[in-house]
């Protein structure tokens, strides 16, 4: 390899140990159609438990689409049709008898642009637990809110102004608020769709630290444009291209010795 190629390849720094045990999410032959357009073709994937999995790939390759399949957010798009099986803990989430609302309580989501509710910080966090009946009293609810904010590393910054409106925080704080909101309902999986793309480097660093802490308790799937970020935070990586999965594997291997030439080209910055 020439020097520029080596220099361009990002170094994986996250802990290389892969957790043992059955994968949390198993996807088999998933195809997604937007009206006539075939957006995802025969995607099969295992997502490990209590680890961070990164989806990388150029724009429009289908990573966000696949991510949204996992918590069935694509159901809100009328023209979208999903074929294939996705199982979480060996339970098919596209089974008609499954309650989608319960699914979304188990599989949380953080979006690209921070979207706190235009309510108070307290209300933002408390909304989820309240509608799912997770707290029996106000004291318990206060406890849940505090725990969520602590886990999201936001507690110290907002503990004196819980009644202030959520939209009055800075971008990075808003995104951490959204993460706290997602954690508050105690999900098993957290899906993150380019969570740092709208943030500055310092806020991004804070969120990446957070992700590293969270993975001890949650399964995290992160879609990212930044390969450095994928290398930093994830243990497994999947590379998407034009609606298919080109390669999956441990992050270290993908970034140091990928099997597929397309992966190689993408990582070294030849396209995308």
């Amino acid at each position: 390899m020439d020097a520029t190629a080596t220099a361009a390849r990002p170094k994986p720094t996250a802990s290389a140990t892969l957790p043992a045990g059955d994968p949390k999410i198993v996807a088999k032959d998933v195809n997604v159609y937007y009206a006539e357009k075939h957006a995802l073709k025969d995607v099969s994937l295992d997502i490990p438990e209590r680890a961070v999995m990164a989806f990388i790939g150029p724009s429009g390759c289908g990573k966000s689409t696949f991510l949204r399949c996992i918590n069935r957010m694509n159901d809100t798009i009328a023209s979208c049709r999903v074929v294939g099986s996705i199982k979480i803990d060996e339970q098919d989430i596209y089974d008609p008898s499954l309650d989608v609302v319960q699914l979304r309580a188990r599989v949380g989501m953080v979006f690209q642009k921070p979207n706190p509710f235009p309510k108070s910080i307290y209300e933002n966090i408390a909304y989820g637990p309240r509608i799912h009946g997770l707290a029996r009293s106000k004291a318990e609810l206060d406890e849940i809110v505090e725990q969520a904010l602590r886990k999201a590393s936001l507690w110290n910054e907002v503990k004196d102004r819980l009644q202030d409106t959520g939209t009055g925080l800075s971008g990075g704080q808003q995104q951490r608020l959204c993460i706290a909101r997602a954690i508050a309902v105690s999900p098993e999986v957290i899906l993150m769709d380019e969570p740092c793309s709208a943030l500055d480097p310092i806020a991004t660093a804070k969120i990446e630290e957070l992700i590293d802490e969270l993975r001890q308790n949650f399964t995290i799937v992160i879609v990212t444009h930044s390969m450095q970020q994928a290398a930093r935070v994830s243990q497994r990586t999947a590379f998407f291209h034009l609606g298919v999965i080109v390669e999956t594997g441990p992050t270290e291997r993908i970034f140091t010795s990928p099997n597929d030439k397309r992966t190689q080209d993408y990582i070294t910055g030849r396209f995308g």
Binding site: R106, F111, N115, P118, I131
Partner: protein, 613 residues
């Protein structure tokens, strides 16, 4: 002068002068645009100010009303026929008779049925209402003398407000001596004090003659126009006779006959007016001597020695006339102790004649006339008598109707909008529904009245002219507006909020009701304000469901017959009495105030719901 040029990023040469000229042109264009905007706002504001000023000045006479303060002895025979002092008996008592007796006592010289009726005509038929209310509230007043306020009639009220005629007062400059204290009187002055007035009368004669001539010309033109149709009418008759069709012949004959009779009556009018004009001109030409005054000329009254004389003939140093109220003495009156009053509107053009004016002036001199704020306008219902008519019935009716409208159309409208926007499947049927709702918003309101008549009144048999039916009809009218505005408000909420809610595990219904709906509230409130304001002012549908009836009582329930503010305005604007004109404008002000309050409330609610995202 050296020309400076610059080189732009792409290497073109940019002349600095040109650039400056372009900048100046841009500034000018912006200033022009701003001026247009300010001009448009000023124009609209001007119209608004003019409209409001017009309404307020027209309504001013209705804000005050006139009472006579009279002490009436209340006897048991007249007010308590059963002698029981119970409410049932007291209500049947005659309060007007004792009041009238005291009132007529102010003018003991008035006798005979016709003059008495003229005198009584200055009091309202409801003059004794306050007395009745006082006695019924406190029966211990029976046997005592009660000081009460008696409402005057609408014509008297208008006279006191100066609406009936303009008055010119002149203090007497010379010593005036009357020849008698009642009946026919001749008042002579030492110097020709009435010379100016004589000249005035002359010019009045000439003016009146001129007006008559003008009128004659106008009628002549009219008559010629009618006569010009005669040849074609005669031709039509000949043709009809030729055709032999009996109906056509009759129609043609009738048309011809009408032309003839119209032209004849116009001819007669012309002759009368021409005669009057000639008469006035003759009197005008006849200089010197006395001038006779009649009801076609402005009236002149002489107030002297505590009485009033109506002048029938005026010369430079003497007037002849007849007393309207008796003089106290025949002594000579010093300068400035007597005055001459000229009433600009001739007697035959007003509803209050000179005799009544004399009585009204005498009452004012006695100090029994009291003018105050017209609270009765806001506390009484409608009436045929202009001075007693009030807005309360219509106001309460409007409030009830609006309440029914709001209760029906707000939940249904917002619910329909939420369903159509969030939950309904997007297919052909919902498209058709949406098109129909948009069309319904543009349907003329009178069609909703017809619908109300056919469905609510005839089919369901709901009580006619009630607030319930009015509210239903107006709710139908307003519903499309609210649905459209609510849908737009819901659409405007950013989808990221809904996604966030769904991501946390809320169901679609929870996401809509907990998040989307509160954020759409300002837009929904705006749609509601617009709709309700629209409904408040709608008259046509209410007319068709019978709310045009003359209702005196203030409505007590949603099903009792009632009228509404816009209908009341419409009814009053049609009535001939002058007093109703001011009341119409005052009613418009009440309607505008109600609208203002309603909108203000909605704006306060909207601000409370408003959030920034």
């Amino acid at each position: 002068m050296t020309e400076m040029t610059a080189v732009s990023g792409l290497g073109h040469r940019v002349d600095a002068d040109e650039a400056r000229a372009r900048v100046r042109k841009r500034y000018r264009a912006e200033a022009r645009f701003k001026a247009y905007g300010i001009g448009a706002i000023a124009f609209a504001a001007l119209f608004l100010v003019v409209l409001l000023a017009d309404i307020v000045t027209k309504a001013l006479p209705a804000f005050t009303t006139t009472h006579l303060v009279i002490e009436v002895p209340v006897t048991a025979e007249s007010v308590d026929p059963d002698g029981s002092r119970q409410a049932a008996s007291l209500a049947r008592g005659d309060y007007l008779k004792p009041l009238r007796e005291v009132y007529q006592g102010f003018f003991p010289e008035v006798s005979g049925r016709a003059p008495r009726r003229e005198l009584n005509g200055l009091l309202s038929s409801g003059a004794a209402d306050e007395l009745r209310a006082e006695v019924m509230a406190d029966p211990s007043l029976i046997g005592r003398t009660v000081k009460t306020r008696a409402l005057v009639s609408d014509d008297a009220d208008l006279y006191y407000k100066g609406v009936v005629t303009d008055v010119v007062e002149e203090q007497g400059e010379a010593v005036a001596t009357p020849s008698a204290t009642s009946g026919d009187v001749v008042v002579t002055t030492a110097t020709p004090a009435f010379a100016d007035d004589l000249a005035e009368i002359k010019s009045e004669l000439s003016e009146t003659a001129r007006k008559r001539r003008f009128e004659v010309d106008r009628i002549r033109t009219l008559r010629e126009g009618i006569l010009s149709d005669k040849p074609s009418a005669e031709l039509a008759l000949r043709e009809a006779r030729g055709g032999g069709d009996a109906t056509r012949i009759t129609i043609a004959q009738n048309a011809l006959a009408k032309i003839d009779s119209d032209s004849q009556s116009l001819q007669a009018q012309m002759e009368t007016l021409a005669g009057e004009a000639a008469d006035f001109e003759a009197r005008f030409k006849d200089s010197g001597g006395a001038e006779k005054l009649d009801e076609k000329l402005p009236s002149r009254l002489l107030a002297i020695n505590g009485g009033i004389v109506k002048i029938t003939s005026l010369a430079a140093d003497r007037v002849e006339g007849v007393t309207l109220t008796p003089l106290k003495s025949q002594d000579a009156a010093q300068p400035n102790a007597w005055k001459l009053l000229t009433y600009e509107t001739p007697e035959n053009s007003r509803r209050v004649n000179d005799q009544q004016i004399a009585w009204l002036e005498t009452l004012k001199a006695k100090g029994v006339v009291e003018t105050g704020l017209n609270w009765g306008f806001l506390t009484s219902g409608d009436s045929r008598e202009a001075e007693q008519a009030g807005i309360l019935g219509a106001l309460v009716g409007s409030i009830f109707t609006m309440a029914v409208t709001l209760v029906i159309c707000l939940p249904i409208g917002v619910g329909a909008a939420i369903y159509l926007e969030e939950f309904a499947p997007k297919n052909r049927w919902t498209d058709i529904i949406e098109i129909n709702i948009n069309n319904l918003a543009a349907v003329p309101s009178i069609v909703y009245g017809l619908l109300g008549l056919a469905v609510f009144l005839n089919f369901f048999g709901m009580p006619r002219s009630s607030a319930v039916v009015g509210g239903f009809v107006l709710a139908l009218l307003v519903l499309p507006t609210i649905i459209i505005a609510s849908r737009a408000a819901l659409k405007a909420v950013p989808p990221s909020i809904r996604e966030a809610a769904l991501g946390v595990g809320a169901s679609h219904q929870q996401a809509v009701f907990h998040h989307t709906l509160p954020l759409a509230m300002p837009g929904i409130m705006t749609g509601t304000i617009i709709g309700m304001a629209h409904a408040l002012g709608e008259t046509a549908p209410l007319l068709l469901i019978g709310m045009v009836a003359f209702i005196v009582d203030v409505p007590t329930s949603f099903t009792s017959a009632t009228t509404a503010l816009p209908v009341q305005i419409y009814l009053w604007s049609d009535l001939p009495e002058v007093a109703f004109q001011a009341k119409t404008s005052a009613a418009i002000l009440v309607l505008l105030f109600f609208l203002f309050v309603m909108n203000g409330l909605a704006i306060v609610l909207r601000k409370r719901f408003e959030r920034r995202w």
